[in-house]
Amino acid sequence: MATINKSAVQEMVTILSNKRVGAYHQILLNVGDIVKNCRPGNFVAISVGGDTSKMILRRAFAISRVSESSQYGGTMELIVAPHGSGSKWLCSQAEGTEIDVVAPLGTAFGIPTEPISALLIGGGYGSAPLFGLADVLKSRGCKVDMLLGASVGSKIYAPMEGKRSVNSLKIYTEDGSMGETGRVTENLLDIVRDRNIDVIYSCGPMAMLSAITALVADLEVIHQCAVEESMACGIGICMTCVLPVRNEDGSTSMLRSCIDGPVMDGSTVRWDLVGEVPEGTA
């Protein structure tokens, strides 16, 4: 019956491990059959604070990668930044704790049917879903280059095994503590041209996504970005997470980034109107 949230389920799942990795926590969950429906770009929504919590809303996290072959059945990995009280609570949960998840949610990165050249750009924990995506692209014969950026080196998430799935990896930090000094957008145009990039996949802060969109506006390249808006429900029922998106007829709609996103076509997002309301009627 359902046409939206089609394969989403709500389940209690167990934390298999919780490790600090730089500024983040790498959290591995035993999610069983849920993995079957997870695609790179999808996210999970997690209840935080336990039974007596004053936090009534779920927190959204990108699915970093899933695996069906592990000894535990299906596992799912999250990369969580301890930001406010909810994510800090999650980061402090021990192995063996049961947590309440709804997954998978949202749109996924489009996977090309031909072996294209892809550039994956991640900002901060935004790199999390890109390694799983790289695996899939690689398996389809794509060329996969990756740019990662963050303010400081500890906020670059680039696991060893992940690096294996990419042809090249370039790291930027604003303070120069890792890789080159600067931002991922620094030499973006050159890279896109030199490497004949067909598709850019990006995930990270909204300002980064917007900057990438602006830089490549005049190129032929496709830009699929995973946006991040405050979400109250994650399943399309509250209308809090909307973004202004240009329709084919030139008008603008406020689309829900939880069900029409998080992965969107960057060129259709009206970045200039984020936080404002389009003129005229919807």
Partner: protein, 312 residues
């Protein structure tokens, strides 16, 4: 094992198999929840308040979490009544869901226009009239905060819609004298009352040092406001014991639903709780049934207003 409890309820001449409904604006138009439970298993789907024209709503951020609650400032984004009636209502009826359509307007006239369009739609169970909207003809004062405006809206809807469809007037708790507003809309023809809409609130972002929401103020919902909802329902049920109330505000468990029913609610809408738990309605409904059975109620309706039993 618990005894079977007859969970059915009525609001005006509309019958529902259970008293647990969605809350307007917290279930969109139903499709999104259908993955989590069959929509016909709950009392009714109360759809997001719809206006006569499509609408973008308010700028983001549109929400802020608060202790045991949240603020929202959606600004009634929606497709407009025509698209809504063409797409959403038929789909819901196909699912055999019972449908309560919530309407909202900026003028008394807009409400009547909406009522006129609903009049010809068959299959819907009731109309909820959300009068917690700014009245553009009266310095933006919320209709529900002014007895005269409230009354005029309901009067217009009643006259336009004819005598068939039950009209439920949804009131705001942000008033000095709620029973007076309630009495006014009942006199004007409301068959029932929906209590309560959100409580006006604000969060200031201590980093930007400005109001956090794009719309500055927002509506407070969730468990934080449950005591306000219980009080409002109790007060209004005491003043107007014969008028059915659709209660809402912070219901997140069967215990909460029972509290509202004991206070005087004939039905209970579940709003914010669905954001934290997509199956909240089903869980609440099951827990409520068990609680009623454990207390020896053979029918849910016996529990309505039971907390008033020793009143003078």
């Amino acid at each position: 094992m618990t005894l079977p409890v007859d969970m059915s309820t009525t609001l005006g001449n509309a019958w529902f198999p259970t008293p647990i409904f969605t809350a307007s604006g917290c279930a969109s138009s139903g499709k999104e929840l259908a993955q989590f439970f069959p929509l016909n298993q709950v009392g009714a789907i109360v759809t997001k308040s719809v206006m006569s024209k499509p609408r973008h709503g308010r700028p983001t951020p549109r929400m802020a979490e608060t202790p045991s609650g949240m603020l929202n400032s959606i600004g009634l984004q929606g497709p407009g009544i025509d698209a809504f009636l063409a797409n959403d209502v038929p789909w819901l009826l196909e699912q055999k869901a019972r449908v309560i359509v919530s309407i909202a307007g900026e003028t008394v006239e807009e409400y009547s226009t909406l009522a006129r369009k609903l009049r010809s739609v068959s299959g819907i169970s009731a109309v909820e009239v959300n009068i917690s909207c700014p009245n553009v003809e009266n310095r933006g004062m919320v209709f529900a905060c002014d007895p005269e405006s409230s009354r005029r809206v309901i009067d217009g809807v009643r006259k336009t819609i004819g005598g068939e469809l039950p009209i439920i007037a949804k009131l705001s708790p942000d008033v000095t004298d709620l029973p007076a507003i309630a009495r006014g809309v009942v006199d004007a023809g409301a068959d029932g009352l929906a209590l309560i809409n959100t409580v006006l609130g604000m969060v200031i972002n201590i980093d930007s040092m400005k109001p956090h929401l794009g719309g500055k103020t927002g509506g407070l919902s969730g468990p934080a406001i449950k005591p306000v909802a219980v009080r409002a329902i109790y007060q209004v049920h005491a003043a107007l014991p014969k008028v059915p109330i659709l209660g809402m505000g912070g219901v997140a468990s069967g215990r909460d639903a029972l509290e509202l029913i004991l206070a005087g609610a004939s039905g209970v809408s579940v709003g914010t709780a669905s954001f934290g738990n997509p199956k909240a309605l089903i869980d609440i409904q099951n827990e409520l049934r068990d609680l009623l059975a454990a207390r020896g109620f053979a029918t849910m309706q016996q529990a309505i207003g039971y907390a008033h039993r020793d009143e003078a």
